[in-house]
Each structure stands twice: as C-alpha cells, then as structure tokens.
Symmetry: C2
Subunit: 345 residues, 2 copies
Amino acid sequence: MENLQNDLLLRMVNGESTERYPVWLMRQAGRILPEYRAVRSKLSGFIELVTTPELAAEVTIQPVDLLGVDAAIIFSDILVIPEALGLDYEMIEKKGPFFPKTISSMEELNALDKEIDIQERLWYVIEAIKITKRELNGRVPLIGFAGAPWTIFCYMTEGQGSKTFSKAKRLLYADPEFSHALLSKITDATITYLKAQIAAGANIVQLFDSWAGILSPSMYSEFGTKYVSKICDAINEAPVTVFAKGAYYARKELANLNCETIGIDWNMDVKESRELIGPNKTIQGNLDPCALYGSFQTIEEKTKNMLNSFANQRHIANLGHGVYPDINPEKVKCFIETVKGFEKN
Amino acid sequence: MENLQNDLLLRMVNGESTERYPVWLMRQAGRILPEYRAVRSKLSGFIELVTTPELAAEVTIQPVDLLGVDAAIIFSDILVIPEALGLDYEMIEKKGPFFPKTISSMEELNALDKEIDIQERLWYVIEAIKITKRELNGRVPLIGFAGAPWTIFCYMTEGQGSKTFSKAKRLLYADPEFSHALLSKITDATITYLKAQIAAGANIVQLFDSWAGILSPSMYSEFGTKYVSKICDAINEAPVTVFAKGAYYARKELANLNCETIGIDWNMDVKESRELIGPNKTIQGNLDPCALYGSFQTIEEKTKNMLNSFANQRHIANLGHGVYPDINPEKVKCFIETVKGFEKN
C-alpha cells in the first residue's frame, strides 16, 4: 500500500472519518496559473502539452505546490480516446476541439481499426502518470480520468462543440443500432484505458459525462447510464467518481452505480442531491465556477454556505464544473483556504 | 370578445375542458418551411424580416396554413428589447446575435436613454401583430412573446451567445447593484412591450427565459424569478406562459407565479413536473426537438408516450425547445397529426 502524506480525499471517498472536507478543482486548476501559461507558451499548442509526459506531469503538480489542493488530476484530455480509436482531433484556440473526420454509420464504424492496443496508443498519458507519481512522492493522491461514453460519442459524431449536439442526438433516434455499437466500442476502450491509468499509479478515476444534460431522462438511461454502469462494474482496482453534468434527473439512477462518488453541478441543490443519492456515496461539488468572480467576502460566504449544506456527510469540496481560465488565482486560494479552515462539527 | 374558430389553446390555458390537446411548435415552426425560406431569401437578413411587418405577418401565418398548428406565434426576436433600450444587434449567419456595444457598469447603464417610448421604438412588432390578426381572421389565437429579463441581461452584458455566459454571470456576483438596476430597466420595458402586444391583438403572451438553466437555484431566485414574477403580476390583460429552460430546480417556485402556463423542456419529466407544479397550471411541452429526426414510427411512438404522460390534465403539446431548422416538415406534420388524432379519455 502506498503511503500518502495527505490521504484525506481517499478516506472521504471510502466513507472513512476525516477531520475536514478535502478540496480540489475540476478539471485543471493549473490553467489559471501564470506558471502553467509559461509552460504552455513554449509549445505549439494544447495537444503538444497533452502528449509530452514530462510537461504534462509538471503542470499536473503545479496546483498542488501553488494552490494547496488535496489531490492532483493528471493533465490530459478526454479526446485522447477518439484519437486512439482512429479519429484525430485538433484543438483550435478560443474555439475548442475539431475532428476533421467524424463517424455516423455502421460502415464507418466497421472501417475503424479492429485491434487497438489502447495502452500503446495512449502511452503518453501512462508515462505522464508515472512521472507525476514519482514527483508527487506521496504528497497527495492522483486522480485519473476519462470521458463517459455518451460524451465521447458526441465528439466522434458531431466533430466539434455544439449548443445542441443535434447531429449526435439525431443518431440516437435515427440509428439506435449504430449508436449502441459505437458506445460499446468506446466503453471497452475506456475500461482498458482506466485500468492502465490505475496500474500506472492513479489512486482514483473520474468519468466526465459533460453532455449528459442534453438528453431526456429516458434517452440518458438508454444511451448514457447503461455504459457508465458497465465501466463502474469493470473497474475494481480503484474508487470511481461519476460526474454527469446536467443529469439532475438521473441522480436516483446514478446512486445505484457501482461507484464511490457522484459529482454534482451548481444547478443541483446539495441537500436534495443527498436525499436522492442517499447516505452511502460521497458527493463532490458544487460551487458555481462564476462565484469565483465575486469579492473575497462573497467567495467566503458562498463557500461556507456550501460547506454548511454538506451537513457533516460524505462530501468533497469542488466547483460545480471546471474553473474558468480567467479567474484570479488569489480567488481560487480564497476558496481552498475557506474549505481548509472550515471545521466540521 | 373575439370570436375564434379554434380556441382550443385558450380554453386549455384557462383550465376549461377540451376535446383534445392543443399543439404548436416553439419558436417559429415556419423556419423549417421552404415557403419561409423563399420569403427570407429575398431579404438582406433576419433583422429585415423582423422589422418588415407585412413579411413578418406572412411567415407568422405560414405554419397555420401549411402545418395545421392550433396557434400562431408572432415572428419576431427577443432581442428587439435591448435594441429599443439602445443596444443595436446584428444577426450573423450561422453564428447568432452579436452586439457591438455591451453594458457592464452603472455608468454605462445611466448613459442609456432615460425616456424611451417602447411602443414607438417597436412599432414594427405591433404593426406585424395587427396585420397578422387581420389575416388570421379568427382562425387560431396569436401568441405574443418577449425574453425574460435574465436572458435579455445575458445578451446585453455578454454581447453574444456563449456556452457559459460567464461575463453575464460574473456581474451577478461582482456587481449585484448594477445587475438589479439593469434587470429592473429590462423588466419595465418588457411590461410595456407585452401590454402593447396584447392591445394590438395578441391573445396570450409567453416569456422565454432561455438561459435560466445556467444559474444556481439561489441565484435564479434572486436574479431570475424575481423579475419574471413582476412581469406576471403586471400583465392582467391576457394569459401568460413562462418558459424557463433548464430551470428544473425552480419548478416549485414557478408554480407560485401569477401566470397560467409553465413551459417545460425535454429534460424535465412530465409526471414529476406535474407533481411539483400542482394541478392549477397548464403545462406546455416537452418532446425532445431531436425526436423529430427519428422515423415516422419513432415520432409517433415518442409523441404518444408524451401524450399518455399528460394523464388528461392541463397540457399543451409542444416541443421542449424550438424546432431545429433542418427538420423535415413532414416529420413535424407527423408530430402534429399524432397529437390531433390522440383521444383524451
């Protein structure tokens, strides 16, 4: 067993007693730091940072050193899975991801490589995890992650961000057979990938279902939770966190997943979420990322409101979504310090 | 009293008995029609259509003639209010609205015109309503509309569409005083505007709070519902519908509004919404717009599922959001005909 100096997050995830709530920030707290931008500015772009293990490890550790979070999350991207499956992507500055080639039929799905060694294709993530673990040297746990199958399906079929993801959703209604086949392929790859992350040293893994909120309850049950559930059942080597953004309607269903932690976004009321999810899971979240635009006093007040709503149960303090890149690092520190200074009764 | 040949929508809104569920499609069913595109293609752009009353009336009536909906909704845009308040907008093809000038401080707010004659500045909408009423000649009711204050605030401060509207939300946390002042100004203008629409012939008015879903429950209560409530209280001349997209967490609060109808999006379960809202409001919605990409059989099945969930209570059949522009008109007809052929028990 690894000897962690700060194992607060893992104890909370496992339902053990803790002296205070652990705190970290989705997805990469580092993106707000000048030190991150310094590393980033020397490179051709985001993807070079993702695929260069030494640098990915460096920016993974920055928030631990500079902000004092209770966990690191490996610097990477959910879109490495589509790439490993044969769909290359570009990251366009101020616009987001773009896939020159998308997939929308059984023929195109069958044309993708059959035999893929996920670990080999994603060696750079595995290597980044190994370097990070070595350099963290037991200070805090490391979180690995992947996109949930529905969210990855969105990008593989839509090819880019979208307000409606209507091309992706269209396929669920118009071609459910293809949709299930692609979701299954993504699910299998994701299981292999997460197991490799854990083998390399990730202490816990999180599934990000960023586009869960655009589906109706019955569609998310059929095309979303079904595959998240398969992944949870397959991962027994480390605790799993499921963050299905916007899927407020699925909280009762998510409570039945074979996972330890459920992430909630800032739309979801903490008390109501606890009632729906029950006492046997850890809940992670959920301060509005925009609250960090407020004054120090406002941040402290809103953070304490959140902490009080935790009511001494199993909670990890976090934002309800990723930190926005233009947030002042001092404001993030205010959030973190408020959590650290808050005494559980 | 006006003598309507088809008053199904108004009877449903008022809680009277009806032989079947009324049906229409948000926002402009006409946008899917070749006949709409024929009118549109002769013009310089969207805004010319909005500001030319004869043509706005023509495309307002097209879905009544060609699709057989139970109500017309005036062809216009929620952004005419910011324009009337002094912020011009452009509609950029495939991108959406853009405001060259935005507002983010008390100084900028005070610099806007104090005395504005909303009816005079928006004469073209009022005129379009009068022409539409004359040409509809009592066939179906006409729906007027406006954006809800929070949604209009989003555009006036952010200046364009956004995934996060973080500039707009930032102001709520960083400058609540300015935020309330701007929301109040929008609210007053909206009340005047809706009263003018009703005086010109609108039989019912709908508030679209398109960005309600990006606020936390407490922030929406403070900056959203508060102003929607003021509008509902001020409009006594016609029934009011409130559609707060994404504000699932506010359904109980919305049930207390002084309005007749609550719109729900496709994320919201019909049965749960009825429980939260209670029996004394009409509920409008909520088929997933993407369901219309399915086969005729799929559309019929999903529509009947929705109609069955209505359980013979006060419901208006609609989509859970606006119809997407690339939907086949025959698929829309299938949706409408399925509603019309469905017998309430």
